[in-house]
């Protein structure tokens, strides 16, 4: 098994430091880079230009789908397949369908939000090259990491390392992945 370079990682001490470092990496023209933080840093999505997350749309699609399917199910089961007359009420009506369909809209939307979040993040994954780095366990504690990926067009071991040093990164290391 050979190992190839996945990227270069640098460590920062505070949320403000990682935010400024991210601004500088962006201004240097890098495109394939990411930050790893113990909690979401406010303003990072603007610096990284992440735009609007698609999770909301996944949730809407699954919620809307669930709503429509339950309306269909109620019509099929209580008005078409086995028409059931209860207290002289219509076989199929809005008051009867709204509550269960609305409840299932919430169910669909919630499942959509979780599945969408995991899907868009490509989770679950059992392995990540960064998890090999002993210092990376601090990414869930009080350190903030910035990774510049080897697939970036501007990536060059020497220059990228110099940039990370210049913007105040500590413990700069090369991350390898198994090819």
């Amino acid at each position: 098994m050979s190992e190839k370079v996945y990227g270069i990682i640098a460590e920062f001490d505070s949320p403000a430091a990682i935010l400024h470092a991210a601004e500088k990496v962006r201004d240097a023209g890098y495109r394939r880079w990411d930050t790893f933080t113990p909690f979401p840093i406010h303003g990072m999505e603007k610096v990284m230009n992440l735009g609007n997350s698609m999770v909301g749309w996944v949730s809407l699609a699954m919620g809307g789908g669930a709503f429509a399917s339950v309306v269909g199910l109620l019509w099929f089961s209580n008005a078409f397949d086995y028409p059931l007359l209860v207290g002289g009420k219509p076989m199929f009506s809005v008051p009867m369908t709204f509550v269960p369909s609305y409840i299932m809209l919430i169910m669909g939307g919630a499942v959509g939000a979780l599945v969408g979040m995991l899907g868009l993040n490509q989770l679950p994954r059992l392995h990540h090259p960064l998890l090999h780095k002993p210092r990376f366990i601090l990414a869930s504690r009080d350190k903030f990491f910035l990774l510049i990926g080897a697939l970036d067009d501007k990536f060059c071991e020497q220059e990228t390392r110099q940039l990370l040093e210049a913007i105040g990164g500590k413990h700069i290391e090369i991350v390898e992945e198994e090819a």
């Binding site: 505070s14 790893f36 406010h42 997350s53 999770v55 169910m107 969408g116």
Partner: protein, 477 residues
């Protein structure tokens, strides 16, 4: 010379106007992480075992025993009999659903309104929701009498060609409670993913490492992941908030769509929602006050947070008082003799009159104590008030369910209801199961949302001096 107040940039508000800090823990993010994960990683303390063993006994002996006896013998083992066909099983069902609601309100609605103090108690509130909905769901499932026919309630194609009857609110209830349980579990689990990663990275033994690695699902804390995660969190919070107002409304509809005097009122959906939230805040006080002390979380779950929970209890208690007044007013104003009879007998009838006074005495009168700052700062008194509210709200459900059924339209049909040992055993069993699950959660899972708290303290704010910012834009440290 002090600065003129018009210069707001340099104006420091007087102490009493400043917002209380989210946590009172001094030290940086690392210290905070140690503090928050300490209990899940440390040695199991004695008090935990003292509480856990009786709870586990109720959950693994009392509950299964009562369940098996009831399922094999029939609903007749309970006190339910004509005319009171809904007894303690439905009372407890509503009570447990109610306990759940405050948890969702704290974790979801307060998230949407950006109340940072909720980060410290949100996870514990969600756990309360998840476990109490589980307990609630068990009751209707066995109350149907033949529990092995429960699947009839789901729209499953079957050889009889029959479908559930969706015009009944009882059917909507099946969907509502199942959805509530599923969605609050998803919300709870998703919130824990980053904290599982914290525990994974801190794990010292191989077993812990493997378990938390699987639960964390490879979470790295990438900004892209956080971006999607935060969106999903907002969406789930919004949906959970809808559920707070939907589930108990539907439980209320179970009652108010019937013709029975005492149930047939349009105020019921709102009544049940507020009652649920009120009861849940009571339970929140009962859980938070001892745990913050025993788990050494006084600096994290501060007196200010307890004070805020108490204030929310007071608000919901005041709405409850209004609804009680309105119920009695409408009973009189409607001119309906049956309504008047039922409501008059709630306070001045026989057998159950004491419960009517209990619910007014506790839910209306005792709650007024929370107006006083001294009471809200006195944890022992708050704990007792929390327990009283739980008893009071249980009484309320008993008065609504049994108090309306036992004297229906025809005096020839009147009867009495007394719970049997099996009713009580089942309730004790569910209480034990709830506390057993809760204690397991507190011991083994991240009981406080570690990443959320870190994001809410000044050290985690990139625009704050403590977060490394060079200017003072973020306000006073």
């Amino acid at each position: 010379m002090s600065e003129p107040v018009t210069n707001l940039k340099n104006y420091a508000a007087p102490a009493e106007l400043r917002r209380a800090p989210v946590v009172e823990c001094s030290g940086g993010l690392g210290v905070l992480t140690d503090k928050l994960s300490e209990f899940a990683e440390g040695k199991t303390p004695m008090w935990w075992w003292i509480l856990f063993l009786p709870a586990a006994f109720c959950a693994t002996v009392v509950l299964p025993f009562c369940l098996f006896y009831q399922v094999f013998t029939g609903v007749g083992v309970w006190g339910n009999n004509h005319p009171v066909m809904w007894g303690l099983d439905i009372v407890n069902f509503i009570w447990w659903v109610g306990v759940a609601h405050a948890g969702t309100l704290i974790s979801a609605l307060l998230f949407l309104t950006r109340q940072h103090w909720r980060t410290t108690i949100g996870r514990m509130a969600e756990a309360m929701t998840v476990f109490s909905v589980m307990m609630a769901g068990a009751y209707p499932a066995i109350h149907v009498g033949r529990a092995w026919f429960d699947w009839y309630m789901f729209p499953v194609p079957n050889s009889n060609g029959l479908w559930p009857q969706f015009k009944s609110p009882l059917m909507w209830d099946v969907f509502a409670v199942n959805t509530y349980m599923t969605v609050s579990m998803l919300f709870w689990f998703m919130g824990m993913i980053p904290d599982f990663a914290v525990l994974r990275d801190r794990a010292t033994t191989r077993v812990r490492k493997i378990i938390f690695s699987i639960l964390a699902m490879g979470w790295t804390g990438s900004a892209r992941h956080w971006h999607n995660y935060e969106k999903a969190y907002v969406v789930l919070s919004g949906l959970c908030t809808l559920l707070v107002f939907t589930v108990s409304s539907i439980v209320g509809l179970d009652f108010c769509t019937s013709q029975l005097a005492g149930w047939h009122a349009t105020i019921f959906p709102l009544y049940f929602v507020i009652g649920a939230v009120f009861c849940g805040f009571g339970m929140m006080l009962v859980i938070l006050i001892p745990l913050r002390k025993w788990c050494h979380m006084e600096e994290v779950i501060t007196l200010s947070h307890i004070d805020k929970v108490a204030k929310l209890t007071l608000v919901s208690g005041l709405i409850i008082a209004y609804i009680y007044a309105m119920e009695f007013f409408i009973a009189w104003y409607s001119g309906d003799p049956y309504e008047k009879w039922v409501f008059g007998h709630r306070l001045f009838g026989h057998t159950y009159w004491i419960l009517g006074w209990m619910l007014i005495g506790i839910n209306v009168c005792v709650t007024q104590l929370l107006w006083f700052k001294k009471i809200r700062a006195n944890l022992a008194v708050l704990f007792v008030i929390g327990i009283l509210i739980n008893i009071g709200m249980w009484t309320e459900r008993f008065v609504i369910v049994v108090g309306s059924l036992y004297q229906e339209f025809l005096p020839a049909n009147w009867g009495k209801y007394m719970p049997t040992i099996w009713d009580i055993g089942l309730y004790v069993g569910t209480l034990g199961t709830f506390f057993m699950l809760y204690l397991l959660f507190v011991k083994f899972l991240p009981m406080i949302a570690i990443s959320e708290v870190k994001g809410a303290v000044p050290h985690g704010d990139p625009h704050h001096v403590l977060g490394g910012a060079t200017n003072k834009k973020g306000g006073q440290p």
